[in-house]
Amino acid sequence: MTNINHLRELESESIFVLREVAAQFENPVMLFSGGKDSIVMFHLARKAFFPAKVPFALLHIDTGHNFEETIQFRDNLAEKHGVRMIVKYVQDSIDKGRAVEEIGVGASRNVLQTVTLLDAIEELKVDCAMGGGRRDEEKARAKERFFSHRDEFGQWDPKNQRPELWNLFNGKKRPGEHFRVFPISNWTEMDVWQYILMENIEIPNLYFTHKRKVFQRDGMWLAFAPFMKLKDSEELIEMDVRCRTIGDITCTGVTVSKADSLEEIVEEIAATRVTERGGRSDDKRSEAAMEDRKKEGYF
């Protein structure tokens, strides 16, 4: 039978892109956040280079505001698959005066990651950073290329992108410039979950239901961490929740859910009426929030 389903077709496309990166760049890294998208991307990389090891390092930009489980998961994954995990800390950028911490209620280090990321790219002489960004996530991402060119300042120019046709990817660049490559551009949130289910990929327990102290802000449930400031009107409650996305803890909403298996998660996503970035307060800052952050060099 010469037919493959949509997940296998997406998989083949992503594997193609990952191999192009290995072939076209000297020093690529894969950005790894410990979230499901980067976990799927890494799984695809294992497939792309089997039986060899993944031929590049993983890079985690650590805000210091993580779920503890994410860090545990990250370190286990690196050890299990014998891959080099480079960690760069936003705290270091702050200490060096490269980035200034936001203050007050709603303070987040999410934007500061850009500084740390661009510094890491320069320091490690990275010529290609792969990310788990998907075009269905947000309007500004819908026009992103698989191979996205960045100038010597790490900036994205949405008006001057290279046309991408067939499966011909142009990764040519001048010294000092780099590329961001998004191997799972064409996947949706649903595709990612179906694929995790189909391939039985290990993911952090945070994605499954668990009891957690949470509070409500701007209509979203946020997980509580000791360094977070609560408003007077906000109160901590313990609830059965799970993460739909995992990012910086200060801006990642949690979902009230009892789903404790991949099947239940897929069914929950199928029935849900809010986008996953609806739970990300970083996107709510303005209508063009993502576009602005991307131009500056965000993931």
Binding site: I4, S12, A142, K143, L165, A270, A288
Partner: protein, 423 residues
């Protein structure tokens, strides 16, 4: 979004492109497909309701769902290719949403390059216009196998059957100039929802399928070339571990045909023959693999193969040569330079080429050939003669969209300046 744990393993992927100007109702149509297939989330809906109100619009403007970048929102136009996604229980869809104005020909070409199907929109009040032909021609040039002509805004012509047939007949007069096997027509109103997802109550005279029914059921498995087996080698896998000490795997995506373990194959350009020993994946070995799968192959004999080479079946080899004729679409503000040199990217090989001559330019509004004007500017389509630095192995684009296509890269700026389809 009914694709739950039950049937998702049987879903197929369909990529389609839409071309049209703002006035054709293209954004409204896409908004309608997303909305009626319940692919719009509450927070997205709230956001566009708010924007519609801000602009003082009476109804929720579904077109706002697809306006991506700030520049576009400000100017109210779409200036690039945007990709949209939705799914039904049968299929996952990827829409390459491109602007339809002539100055965006390059975007239409880009969007069309990977599509299985093209939606061409016609405003029922205006009928077939220059732009209609341009869209259909680009679909044909890029060899999109299926075209669905949507005669839109039927509500504004009182759902008139005669009007629809008039437009259909007019379009069919031009069809012989196109190289498309499958053309279908649907009378719709994207604004009111007639025949998009739900069958129209206003057009009893139309007995055909709704647009969504076509998208969900059109037969696409036959669009792939399963005859001419082509495997451009993308990367060589050498684990250098104790377990896989002498392992040499050729990684790539199959661009055509079917490869089976035991098949007699030839490596190009060396011409050396061997047999397929194994087809390996992380999930185990395969007996056979076919387009568009990404796999890794090993061969019985240790022959020298690297990126840019192609593995084919010994009884079916592609054409090879240094002098090729092609149709090209030009993307850059700097015109094509006759006798100019460019980087030439074709399958997994990178080489250089020189443009020897421009045979003619295509007037994509009249579909006439222009033999006098040889200045190929941005958004022009032309037939050219090219000489490559080394022989390339190729098929005509009509036979294989992947071994028959290439891009041209400016050696100074590294920009992708043109895309070509080998004749």
């Amino acid at each position: 979004m009914a694709n739950t744990t039950k049937g998702y393993l049987d879903m197929q992927l369909l990529r389609f492109t839409t071309a049209g100007s703002v006035d054709d109702g293209k954004s409204t149509l896409i908004g309608r497909l997303l909305y009626d297939s319940k692919s719009i989330f509450e927070d997205q809906m709230e956001a566009i309701e708010l924007s519609s109100k801000k602009k003082g619009e009476e109804h929720v403007n579904l077109a706002l769902l697809t306006d991506g970048l700030r520049a576009e929102r400000e100017q109210g136009i779409t200036i690039d290719v945007a990709y949209r996604y939705f799914a039904t229980p049968k299929r996952k869809f990827i829409i390459a949403d491109t602007p339809g104005h002539i100055q965006y020909t390059r975007n239409m070409v880009t969007g069309a390059s990977t599509a299985n199907l093209a939606i061409v929109l016609i405003d029922a009040r205006n009928g077939v216009v220059e732009q209609t032909l341009r869209h259909a021609y680009i679909a044909s040039l890029l060899q999109i196998p299926h075209i669905v002509v949507c005669v839109n805004k039927m509500d504004l012509v009182d759902y008139d059957e005669e009007k629809y047939h008039e437009i259909r007949n007019h379009f069919m007069e031009f069809a012989p100039k196109l190289d498309v096997k499958d053309i279908r027509f649907v009378p719709i109103s994207a604004l009111k929802g007639d025949n998009v997802v739900d069958r129209s109550k206003n057009m009893d005279w139309y007995k055909g399928s709704t647009l969504m029914h076509i998208l969900e059921n059109i037969y696409i498995a036959g669009d792939q070339n399963y005859v001419d087996a082509r495997f451009p080698v993308q990367y060589v896998i050498r684990p250098m571990t104790d377990e896989y000490h002498d392992y040499r795997g050729y990684a790539g995506r199959i661009d055509g045909g079917i490869f089976k373990v035991g098949d007699k194959v030839t490596a190009l350009p060396s011409g050396l023959e061997s047999k397929i020993k194994s087809i390996d994946t992380l999930n185990g070995t395969l007996k056979e693999a076919f387009a568009p799968q990404s796999v890794t192959m090993t061969l019985e004999d240790n022959i020298d193969i690297s990126r840019g080479n192609m593995i084919v079946k010994s009884n079916n080899v592609p054409e090879n040569g240094q002098d090729i004729k092609a149709m090209i679409s030009w993307f850059n503000e700097r015109p094509l330079a006759i006798n100019g040199k460019y980087s030439f990217k074709h399958t997994s090989s990178d080489l250089r080429c020189m443009i020897k001559d421009v045979s003619f330019k295509m007037d994509i509004n009249s579909l006439e050939r222009n033999y006098d004007d040889k200045t190929v500017k941005m958004n022009d389509i032309a037939r050219v003669e090219i000489r490559t630095t080394k022989p390339i192995f190729y098929d005509s684009y009509r036979l294989n969209r992947y071994t028959g296509s290439f891009i041209l890269i400016d050696e100074g700026t590294n920009e992708t300046v043109g895309a070509g389809m080998i004749i």
